[in-house]
Symmetry: C2
DNA sequence: AGTCTGCATCTTGGATCCAGAAATCACGAT
DNA sequence: ATCGTGATTTCTGGATCCAAGATGCAGACT
């Protein structure tokens, strides 16, 4: 109860930074303020979401004090959250120097997609061997939702729900856990993917559902693989552009004009 | 056979201390006592090792206070360690009631080995496509060491080093990370595996190295897969025996969901 | 006599406080 | 003027303290 009351009402703490991650984070904190059993997991959810939706960009330094103030809790649950996020591979601890948002290198992204293709095509094969009408129906619904939402906060969530059903996550919890870990690593770049990707993917989930419904294993696997490769290429493009952008602006503060 | 001395019957049914896990833990704590930068990671290492070598059996209740005293630190780094271990899948938190050592079900073990076969055969294929003489030499050495050590505390470590080299872990860090996660889940049961496994595996690492050196991909993959399946069967046997032992003296005590 | 409810105790989870280390800034020397 | 060195300041990591929730037992009521 005490935790939910600080809704971060005045986010005017440090207004002035260009992207204002603090204001956005305070807004996130407000949305998550109520209905949590422990503030530790609340802090975890807030920071996690902030990283995944780009509010806290890769490389951003995560000061415990600031985060604690913005979320409205003590530094301790923030530390817990950061430790969890480190295990998730989203943040990185520097020995006595605090934590930063982990950024993904091009090689890492390539490896992630290689692994996703390996794990997800295997999951699809296994899942299709055991398909039921009920799951197909749910799949259609979820696929339609996923295809419809091409942007927004629940963009990733819709896809996650679709693939969870597609891979029959309930029957292979560990495999799904691994897949989710991998998706988490690239989730932050998925938002930008649509911007550079063309429109050929707009109905991919529906097409995939068709192949699954028809029981055609190899075509379905091919569809999935091509889809993942397409997303991968988009993410890679974005990453390369980002790394170029980071290399260029070596602006000194004291540079004379 | 130091590892398998307990007959497994009275092991960890309740909080009852079969052979004083506290004393063993204190010994572990002594070994780890010096040379750590932060006590949080020390606590993590100690508890992790205690779980993996069976000192803290599955189902064991982990009281923060006790652990803190045994390790010789405050409860806070213990909490940090437990949070990390939860992310590793080794312990499980029950909302306001503390943490317990997670136990592995037969289904979970089966899934773990299914995934290990998938990921590790893929890693082997990729690694063999890029083999060098230096790595082969290191591999021979590590394989010999692994085959030699059939017991003891560094039993698992020797194998880990061998497979890290075999899969060229340095070039595929994420894939190796996933493999390590999976190996971690079954590591606690690997110690007992040798007891039920026959002696046909005694030179498996050396044989595997031979196939790798010869550049014969499919035979090497087959060797690896068979090896993993053999270990899997041993672990499954052990798990089934253990679950039977647990089923018999059913001390029901308000089990929770 | 059995069961439900209320109280006491234990244990986790959170906050505040303290110490150690690292980065920064200022001052001095070259 | 620039670089190196030392002091200050800031921030992380740890310990102790406090509150909230859950469990278990005991007593009372049906």
């Amino acid at each position: 109860m005490t935790a939910g009351e600080r809704n971060g009402a005045d986010e005017s703490i440090e207004v002035g930074t260009p992207s204002d991650p603090e204001a956005a984070l305070a807004r996130l904190a407000g949305r998550h303020a109520v209905g949590y059993r422990s503030v530790g997991v609340m802090a975890y959810d807030i920071i996690r979401e902030a990283i995944l939706d780009g509010t806290l960009p890769p490389g951003h330094k995560l000061r415990q004090e600031t985060l604690a103030e913005l979320i409205g809790v003590s530094r301790l649950p923030v530390r817990s959250a950061l430790i969890q996020l480190e295990s998730d591979g989203l943040v990185e601890f520097h020995d006595r120097r605090g934590a930063v948002v982990k950024s993904l290198s091009v090689e890492q992204a390539r490896e992630v997609y290689q692994l996703r293709i390996l794990l997800e095509t295997a999951a699809l094969r296994q899942s299709m061997a055991d398909m039921t009408d009920q799951r197909l129906a749910r799949l259609r619904e979820l696929g339609r939702t996923a295809d419809a939402k091409q942007e927004g906060g629940d963009f990733v969530d819709a896809r996650t729900a679709f693939y969870a059903e597609l891979y029959d996550a309930a029957r292979r919890p560990i495999q799904w856990e691994l897949i989710e870990q991998l998706r988490l690593k690239v989730g932050r770049y998925m938002l930008g993917w649509r911007l550079v990707g063309d429109d050929t993917h707009h109905h991919s989930h529906d097409e995939l559902t068709d192949a699954v419904a028809a029981g055609e294993v190899e075509p379905a696997v091919q569809l999935l693989q091509h889809h993942l490769e397409g997303v991968r290429d988009g993410v890679l493009e974005m990453l390369e552009a980002e790394s170029l952008a980071q290399a260029a602006p070596a602006r000194r503060r004291r540079s004379r004009g």
